[in-house]
Symmetry: C2
Amino acid sequence: MSISVSDVMNGLATQQVHGLILILKKAKEYSVESCTDYATLMDARLHPDMYPLSWQLNATLEILIRGSARLSRAEVKGLTLNEDESDFDGLIASVEGLQQKLLGSDSALLDQSEAETFDVPVGPDASMPMTGKEYLLKFLLPNFYFHLTTSYDLLRMSGVAVGKRDYLGVS
Amino acid sequence: MSISVSDVMNGLATQQVHGLILILKKAKEYSVESCTDYATLMDARLHPDMYPLSWQLNATLEILIRGSARLSRAEVKGLTLNEDESDFDGLIASVEGLQQKLLGSDSALLDQSEAETFDVPVGPDASMPMTGKEYLLKFLLPNFYFHLTTSYDLLRMSGVAVGKRDYLGVS
């Protein structure tokens, strides 16, 4: 009985956000080698009515940053990915900055949240009370992995030679 | 400090495998409405050299079933998805059967695994020692969500009207 909220959140920052940075570095290489510009890759989507890669990447980080702030009872404004990036170097630097913010979260505050109750927005006009533990397991984790994997899938579909080891942050 | 291995595993079976069943029911409806046959949908892939949907679905369930067995120190053979299914009804019944197996796991055995050390295969000839907690957070969860989301993405790309609420098992 000893998995803590901070174990999970720190693991996501060290392993999965590191994996995302490896994936984006491969996307940068592919962009150069194939003469595919940044904006074209960022506009990749699985279906015409689905959000593009730029949105998926933003969602991936936003869920983590807002989730960490919410669980720490900290201010959540202005902590998303910089959407004005225009190249991979800027994007990667922005992700690295957010990773550092996440790694700087107060573990004791995160761990206190496990049994506390939070009002979690579940739509434009609705919220649902959840404990920190429920929020982490039922909402934060599945949503984070959804947008991270969809970002990977969009780059894989576009021709970038990413593999599972990149996703797992071990390449 | 009170998230247990069984909390996480039971949550995946009740929420995320339930979500997968909702997604497959929508795929069945789409198959009928669009006259797209089962085999065509199961062969969907993001890139020509990437595994198709049938493989992704099998991987999604296999990670959970083998992971649950490994953490419980139980027999792991013969517990994967039935790959001989030839229609959505058979596939959905197979997933529901695996969900019941997962929900029948012994929570006490799962929870004992948290600090035990396991040799986890990481390639054809290699294994890595991990505690149950490390295996769950660093390997099982990211791999499970990877193949679940990729399965969702392949169906979304194919035209099936699935949404986030299906994925989260709340529709």
